[in-house]
């Protein structure tokens, strides 16, 4: 060929290489995700976190607590079963992993809020943290607390803390939250679904006032929970401090204060059961005789909200089944009462803590001689009527005077406690694991033992740790198991010993 090729070729190669080199520098921009932010405000984190926490806690209630505490029993159960006190290690995995996942957000939100100097978000973080850890530790015992949710800081295998060290921390956090909450300030970045503390009404943030009540009510719940350990933690004086100063340490005083995530019923915050299949919702479980028969006796109006009716001899009735029945038993579909379909879309199912519970706490405190401002009976009756109004039913006339409901103030302290705890048990319907925790603490309500429960099976005192820990965090698990004295459901947690 007549022309010289070499320079042309060289030019092409140089241009190509230069092009490649210059573009590679832009790769960092190109590899920046346009869909997801690198930084967020507390407002976009809070709502989803509140929702995720509560859908797990009420699901724990439905899947675990209700079966264990004889609210419901499965229609058919060939092997094992929570109602036969067989607590497998995976029973509450969803709670463990679910809560810890959201606790990562809680921790992060606290850090972001600190940076932004948003004390209300900081306080809300602390309240959720305390609420979540208290449920986890009451269910499992010792667990990772001081080292958890710090993978980004390099802690991939967190050590476990003992419950006796966790509880004081929780109580301290709640006390801090109580002082951080500032009712003259709105939540700058919004996002609160629980109390809608996003805006001020006039110059006051009513939502923040309620957060404060929730914070102190939770303190009361937890102080009562560890009352056996008052030698290690000064439970009594803290309770007294709270009761003595309702301005500084307000607690729930009405059902409007209830810590209930009310599902708006619009995307995405639906009642988590709104599209549950019939077979999953009410064809697999029935209410037990223990639970439904008393409501039948009392003609408890909450029955209509909670349960379906079945036709027996031409009459529509509420009817339950045995709990802990023998393996050979199988109940026919749709022939006993189960969860009503109304609950699937009920907004106020997202319960965290209620005014009714606070009244029952006060009833017990009053019984123990604390200055609650009222008699145990008054608190007891307030608790019952608060629960009725919480579920949207009117307290029937004369209900509080009915035999079996009417408070016997002359009975022994233990009998009075038993009465309080039975009504508290009904008020704990769909409140995470609280009725189980309280049963462990007080022994009430007394549950009949099913004939199909093998002799060796004992009522559980805790939930075994998830199995995955054996592969992903074995050393710390082993230490914890040694400290706890075993990893089965018969081991008692610190406050229960």
């Amino acid at each position: 060929m007549k022309f010289n090729i070499i320079p042309k070729v060289a030019a092409i190669l140089i241009v190509t290489t230069a092009l490649l080199a210059s573009c590679a520098k832009n790769f960092e921009d190109l590899n920046t995700d346009p869909n997801r932010p690198k930084e967020v405000t507390p407002g976009v984190m809070l709502g989803q976190m509140q929702y995720k926490f509560v859908i797990r806690s009420i699901d724990g209630s439905r899947r675990f607590t209700h079966e264990l505490m004889q609210v419901t029993a499965p229609r058919s159960s060939v092997n094992g079963g929570i109602h036969r006190y067989v607590i497998t290690p995976s029973s509450n995995d969803f709670l463990w992993t679910g809560f810890y996942t959201s606790l990562t957000d809680v921790q992060d939100m606290y850090a972001i809020a600190s940076k932004l100097n948003e004390s209300n978000y900081m306080a809300i973080s602390l309240i959720y943290k305390s609420w979540a850890y208290s449920i986890l530790t009451d269910a499992f015992g010792d667990l990772p607390y001081s080292q958890s949710t710090q993978a980004s800081g390099g802690i991939l295998k967190p050590a476990f803390d003992q419950q006796k060290d966790i509880y004081p921390q929780i109580l301290k956090d709640l006390a801090t939250a109580n002082t951080l909450l500032n009712n003259t300030k709105a939540l700058t970045y919004g996002g609160d679904f629980l109390y809608n503390a996003n805006t001020l009404t006039g110059s006051t943030n009513e939502g923040i006032n309620r957060w404060k009540k929730f914070c102190n009510s939770l303190r009361l719940r937890l102080l009562l929970r560890i009352s056996k350990r008052s030698g290690e933690v000064d439970v009594n004086s803290e309770i007294n401090t709270i009761l003595a100063d309702p301005v500084k340490n307000p607690v729930f005083t009405a059902t409007t204060d209830d810590a209930i995530f009310k599902f708006p019923g619009t995307f995405p915050y639906f009642n988590p059961y709104y599209n549950a299949r019939l077979s999953d919702w009410r064809q697999g479980d029935y209410y037990t005789k223990f639970f439904i028969n008393k409501m039948n006796t009392d003609e408890d109006p909450r029955r209509a909200v909670w349960a379906t009716q079945v036709a027996v001899n031409g009459a529509n009735v509420y009817q339950g089944i045995d709990s802990g029945y023998p393996s050979s038993t199988e109940y026919v579909v749709d022939k006993n009462s189960s969860y009503s379909d109304g609950l699937k879309t009920l907004p106020q199912l997202g319960i965290m803590m209620t005014y009714a519970e606070v009244e029952f706490i006060k009833a017990e405190l009053a019984l123990k001689g604390f200055a609650t401002g009222n008699s145990p009976q008054k608190h007891y009756e307030n608790g019952i009527s608060a629960s009725m109004s919480q579920w949207g039913v009117a307290l029937p006339t004369g209900y509080l005077q009915k035999a079996g409901v009417a408070y016997n103030a002359t009975a022994s302290a233990d009998a009075q406690l038993q009465q309080i705890m039975l009504q508290k048990y009904y008020a704990f319907y769909f409140v995470d694991y609280q009725s189980w925790f309280e049963k462990r603490r007080t022994g009430y309500p007394v549950l009949p033992r099913g004939t199909g429960i093998p002799d060796g099976n004992q009522f559980p005192f805790r939930c075994p740790y998830p199995v995955y820990l054996q592969s992903l965090n074995p050393d710390n698990l082993a230490k914890a198991v040694t400290t706890m004295g075993g990893d089965n459901s018969n081991v008692k947690v610190w406050w229960d010993k």
Binding site: N35, V40, S152, L156, P158
Partner: protein
């Protein structure tokens, strides 16, 4: 212009040389026509000519002398009428003398096969001039050439290319060249398209590559062309999702080398341009999610098989190293058809296809017992016979009474509420499932026009496909337009372009998977053998149209006709795949190629759900716009030269710029304000936007060289460096080399005569693989539309590319003039530095962390035998056997990690990589057993709680696969069939699990009358075992025995043998079609999936499931039936 050949028949010339025959002429002049008549009569010659000649035969030819030879007379004809001739075995073919090419002479002749039959369609090329033509229906051809010495090549699919060197063309004289083609089981020097579109002679390749011709793809057409590759390529594994008309496929070559199953799929390249095999999912996982997946297909499944000329399968990294990071799992290189140059004008081909689909295989349904949990009696609702045993009480179980014609209160299809008023006979509806499925019909019409001249050629093809699928109101329509053009702009510059446009539309594609709103879920749970499927047809409650569906039986699954006619999933997709290319030849040694291509598609989808469906009580409406774009620009400079006659070399260098853009915009109205109105504006709540955008780029430079010695030893070296945007700045540049060699032993040594060809090859290669975009920094995850949460995977700012290195060796031998051939390949691959999301203790804040770790070793063997047992003119038999076996072992995972879950079907079964185990091992729970293997029962008579330890109960990938192709040619008939199968491989069958627990299959018949005493032992308090003696009802027994968590019972051997394809073709004889003024008429009858032999209990052992956009093998989640197809095919060439 249409070519019409006018053949004139005369007596056969008996004399040896017709040209030497003497002619006697009386007149002083004749017309050309008269001259021909004289030649025919007096010389007994056969003469043929075409229309153009005919136009000149009116001209006057002057008689120079009264007695002359035929040759002399033909010389006058040329001089006076401009008609010349060539003599092919005393057969005179007349052609016109080209004006302007007057000085050119011609090479003319006829192409025949071994039996002497004319062979149309053969490409005859003068290599020096790069001038080519195609032989016509009678096998004749003609190419003009200036005087000189030439090499002529004749090539045709499935024939050996003929090289005819030293063909002399003299001035003013036509050279007659008759070419005899030899059929080849595999031609020795077949040209393959390798990476980057580089064409190479097969014998020079140092790695395994295999060609699949268009015939193989068109022979037994399917909706997704990919499935027509099954059984034809050693080492290729295809599983299908069984998810509807499109039925997406997962294509892998040589097993699984990456722990990320998506990375193991083969790269698909069309005309040098990679095509996206991304499946944009809608719905979520296949098992009980909020919404179920719809299989909308991918850009790959939308490729039109009518436009595919051939597919070259490049199996290992050595073959694909030049494609870099994306082809670590091998590549399928598709070449689409381009215009064949045809001097005689246009080639028009029509191809029509009509096929009918039925169901290949049904599960073994029982029709002896009807609905219920008890066999005591049956009652639809409470009745004098007792309480309700049907509908909600039975929940789809068929453990009811036996069909003995007895009378029960049953569903009354004539009353609005279905309540019975009287007893009716208890009988089975044996078609209670099959009646729901229709005969699917697919109509395909394709017309293509092609043509060209010395400077260029073009092809235009239009194809329309309309599919009505097995399920009423489902199917799709596809219009494909393909354009291919190439033009020589100057002696040095050639440009070409290809564009494939596709429009795919569907008014409804069915939901797949296991969920209340899926058809196959309904077929398992929604109905029982005593039910007529027609009873579901009125799917609205009377007076509540669009508000409340009718569920006369099991209330769980949505009414199947509501699903079919109201839960619609629509798509309208427009896609273009195309490229433009310029080749500049500086001189015969130096060439520059520039090519730019795009794969672009935009699709609009919608999903509508009516009020009262189980999952969305207030219905829903969703829309998505999906935009997918990828561009690739390559620059390649090639230089070839020789050091001596023995040593030749070529070197090439170039670069590639790749850019991907993906833009998904979804908008959801998950509760409707007004029932029956499917508009986003009808959202009860604020509609929710779901955007997802991503971009990725890879820039590369590459170079490669080839050295050949004596044309019997070859050495190839390649190198490529990629810069990927998905990896961190410091680690985003990675280089991978390959070396391959090939030695033609039969040319180097003198081998026994029986060996006609022998070659050994060795190759080594290394390929890197990058990752998905946006993995190297912390981002908050969007959740619930406008909230954010911490990610669950801890990012890694120091990710490195995955590296796969492979070594391959092979042997290719042919015997007895290539009547028998054997091709053997052995390989071993190591994949390391895999980008893994290793599990973390979620307490740490993250449930997984990304890192580079792991080592997977894959080893395998591939064998292909070809044979031509009969090769007579009357009867030919070609046969191909292929066999492949692969094992992928997990050698290492991340430090401290012993297992990695690759996929799980909730907690029922998981595919896990465990150190020391095989890729694809399926873990699950099974029975508790005694040391001697007996099943341990509980005291209640059912098997005890499952053993909590996870064990391997199968492997998702087969031990080996094999295929047998046979083709018989008997005169004008061609008969072919393909049998293929696999040994081993396991599938967890959700279909079978649920059918069994509900008593729908024959395996649940034993023990119906009188119960079952399970075969096993019971643990005694002292630890000893005693045989189980407790009798339990069959319903309870099977419910427990086959429960979903029992992987041991629900994982099945997926071995199978299929009669995959069979076809009979009839081609009209050449004589007949000439009269019809056609070039080719072929009528074919074919079948697909005609027979299957397997122990797999559900519809198809070649199963996988679609989870959003990922296809997962090893687990079948209520697959649709696989189609058995019968089709008719007509090809007309004008």
């Amino acid at each position: 212009m249409v070519i019409v050949l006018l053949t004139v028949h005369t007596l056969t010339a008996t004399a040896a040389q017709v040209l030497d025959q003497n002619l006697h002429m009386q007149a002083s002049q004749y017309t050309g026509q008269q001259i021909i008549e004289i030649i025919k009569k007096q010389a007994n010659a056969q003469v043929s000519y075409d229309e153009s000649v005919n136009g000149r035969l009116g001209r006057t030819v002057v008689v120079r002398k009264k007695n002359a030879t035929v040759k002399e007379v033909l010389g006058w004809l040329k001089a006076d009428a401009g008609v010349t001739y060539n003599n092919q075995s005393n057969y005179l073919v007349l052609t016109t003398v080209q004006v302007g090419n007057a000085q050119d002479s011609k090479i003319t002749g006829k192409v025949t096969d071994e039996t002497g039959q004319p062979l149309p369609g053969v490409t005859v090329r003068i290599t020096e001039l790069n001038r080519a033509t195609i032989s016509s229906a009678d096998g004749s051809f003609s190419i003009s050439a200036a005087p000189g010495n030439y090499t002529v090549d004749a090539s045709y699919v499935s024939f050996e290319t003929q090289h005819l060197p030293s063909i002399k063309v003299k001035a003013g004289e036509n050279t007659v060249l008759n070419i005899g083609m030899k059929g080849a089981t595999k031609s020795l020097n077949e040209v393959l398209v390798t990476a980057l579109g580089i064409k190479r002679e097969e014998k020079s390749l140092g790695y395994s590559a295999q060609n699949i011709g268009s015939k193989s793809i068109e022979d037994a057409k399917t909706n997704n062309w990919v499935s027509s590759l099954a059984g034809k390529v050693a080492g290729l594994n295809i599983v299908s999702t069984g998810s509807g008309p499109v039925s997406s496929s997962r294509i892998t070559l040589r097993g699984e080398s990456s722990l990320n199953l998506d990375n193991n799929q083969a790269l698909i390249v069309i005309d040098g341009i990679p095509v996206s095999n991304r499946i944009t999912g809608t719905g979520y996982k296949a098992h009980l999610a909020a919404d179920s997946p719809v299989d909308f297909g991918s850009d790959v499944s939308d490729i039109n098989p009518d436009d595919i000329e051939k597919v070259t399968v490049l199996k290992g990294p050595a073959a694909t190293a030049l494609y870099g990071s994306r082809a670590a799992g091998g590549a399928l290189i598709i070449t689409t058809k381009s215009g064949q140059r045809n001097d005689k004008g246009l080639g028009i081909t029509y191809n029509g296809n009509l096929s009918f689909d039925g169901v290949m295989k049904w599960p073994d349904y029982q029709f002896e017992y009807g609905e219920g949990r008890t066999d005591k009696y049956y009652s639809y609702g409470d009745s004098p016979d007792g309480v309700n045993t049907a509908a909600a009480a039975a929940q789809g179980r068929a453990f009811g009474p036996k069909f003995n014609g007895q009378m029960y209160y049953q569903y009354n299809p004539n009353s609005p509420d279905g309540k019975p008023t009287e007893r009716t006979p208890w009988v089975a509806h044996k078609d209670y499932i099959s009646k729901f499925f229709n005969t699917g019909i697919t109509r395909t019409n394709n017309i293509s026009i092609e043509g060209g001249n010395e400077n260029g050629s073009g092809r235009l093809s239009v194809t329309h496909l309309k599919n009505d699928w097995l399920v009423a109101n489902t199917g799709f329509e596809r219009l494909s337009v393909a354009l291919s053009a190439n033009q020589k702009i100057s002696d040095k510059l050639k440009i070409s372009g290809k564009a494939n446009y596709t429009n795919k539309r569907s008014d409804n594609l069915p939901l797949s998977g296991y969920n209340n709103q899926t058809i196959m879920y309904f077929m398992i749970l929604g109905t029982t053998p005593n039910v007529d499927i027609d009873w579901f047809k009125p799917y609205w409650q009377p007076g509540q149209v669009n508000i409340q569906q009718r569920l006369p039986f099991n209330p769980g699954p949505d009414n199947v006709y509501l699903q079919t006619y109201e839960m619609l999933n629509k798509i309208n997709k427009n896609g273009v795949i195309g490229n433009v290319m310029a080749n500049y030849t500086f001189n015969p040694k130096l060439e520059l190629m520039l090519r730019s291509g795009v794969d672009l598609s935009n699709e609009f989808r919608s999903q509508q759900r009516p009020y009262s469906m189980t999952k969305y009580p207030k219905g829903s409406y969703r829309e998505q716009n999906v935009f997918n774009f990828e561009s690739n620009t390559d620059l390649l400079l090639s230089y070839k030269d020789k050091v001596s006659d023995k040593i030749k070399f070529s070197v090439s260098g170039g670069g590639n710029l790749m850019k991907q853009t993906y833009n998904f915009a979804g908008i959801y109205a998950d509760q409707l304000a007004q029932p029956g109105i499917y508009q986003i504006s009808n959202s009860l709540d604020q509609a929710v936007a779901d955007p997802n955008k991503s971009e990725k780029a890879i820039h590369s430079i590459y170079a490669f060289g080839q050295l050949s010695y004596h044309d019997y030893a070859y050495l190839d070296v390649t190198g490529r460096n990629d810069w990927s945007s998905t990896l961190p700045y410091g680690n985003n540049s990675f280089f991978y080399p390959s070396v391959s060699t090939s030695f033609i032993l039969s040319d180097i040594f003198t081998l026994p005569k029986a060996v006609s060809f022998a070659k050994v090859r060795f190759s080594w290669a290394q390929v890197g693989n990058d990752t998905r975009p946006y993995q190297t920094a912390k981002y908050y995850d969007r959740i619930y539309s406008n909230s954010f949460t911490n990610p669950t995977t801890l990012f890694n700012a120091n990710l490195k590319p995955e590296i796969t290195s492979s070594f391959e060796t092979g042997l290719d031998m042919r015997f007895f003039q290539s009547r028998l051939g054997i091709d053997l390949a052995l390989y071993t691959n190591n994949s390391r530095n895999q980008i893994l999301a290793i599990p973390l203790d979620p307490i740490s804040g993250y449930s997984s962390a990304l890192l580079n770790a792991g080592l997977i070793n894959s080893r395998g063997i591939e064998l292909q035998l070809t044979g031509k047992p009969f090769n007579n003119p009357q009867f030919k038999w070609n046969t191909i056997v292929n066999f492949s076996s692969n094992r992928s072992y997990v050698r290492e995972l991340a430090q401290g990690i012993t297992n990695q879950v690759i996929y799980n079907h909730d907690t029922n079964v998981s595919i896990e990589a465990r150190v020391g185990g095989r890729m694809g091992d399926m873990y699950g729970r099974g029975f508790q057993r005694t040391p001697d293997g007996q099943i341990i029962y509980a005291s209640t008579g059912v098997p005890a709680e499952l053993d909590p330890t996870l064990k391997v109960f199968g492997n998702a990938f087969p031990d080996w696969k094999a295929g047998l192709q046979n083709e018989f040619t008997i005169k004008n008939f061609r008969v072919s069939f393909l049998i293929d199968g696999q040994k081993g491989g396991s599938v967890f069958s959700q279909t079978s699990h649920k059918l069994n627990t509900l008593g729908k299959t024959k395996v649940t018949l034993p023990g119906r009358d009188g119960g079952i005493v399970g075969d096993g032992v019971v643990i005694q308090p002292d630890g000893s075992y005693k045989p189980n003696t407790v009798n339990v009802p069959a319903s309870k027994y099977y419910d427990e025995y086959y429960k979903i968590t029992n992987a041991e019972m629900n994982i099945y051997d997926a071995s199978f043998i299929k009669l995959r394809e069979a076809r009979i073709d009839f081609s009209l004889p050449a004589k007949m079609i000439t009269k019809l003024h056609l070039k080719q008429v072929m009528l074919g009858v074919y079948g697909r999936n005609l027979l299957i032999i397997t122990n797999f209990p559900a519809f198809d052992p070649e199963a996988a499931n679609l989870n959003n956009g990922t296809i997962t093998p090893g687990v079948e989640i209520t697959q649709f039936p696989t189609e058995r197809t019968f089709g008719l095919n007509l090809t007309l060439k004008l």
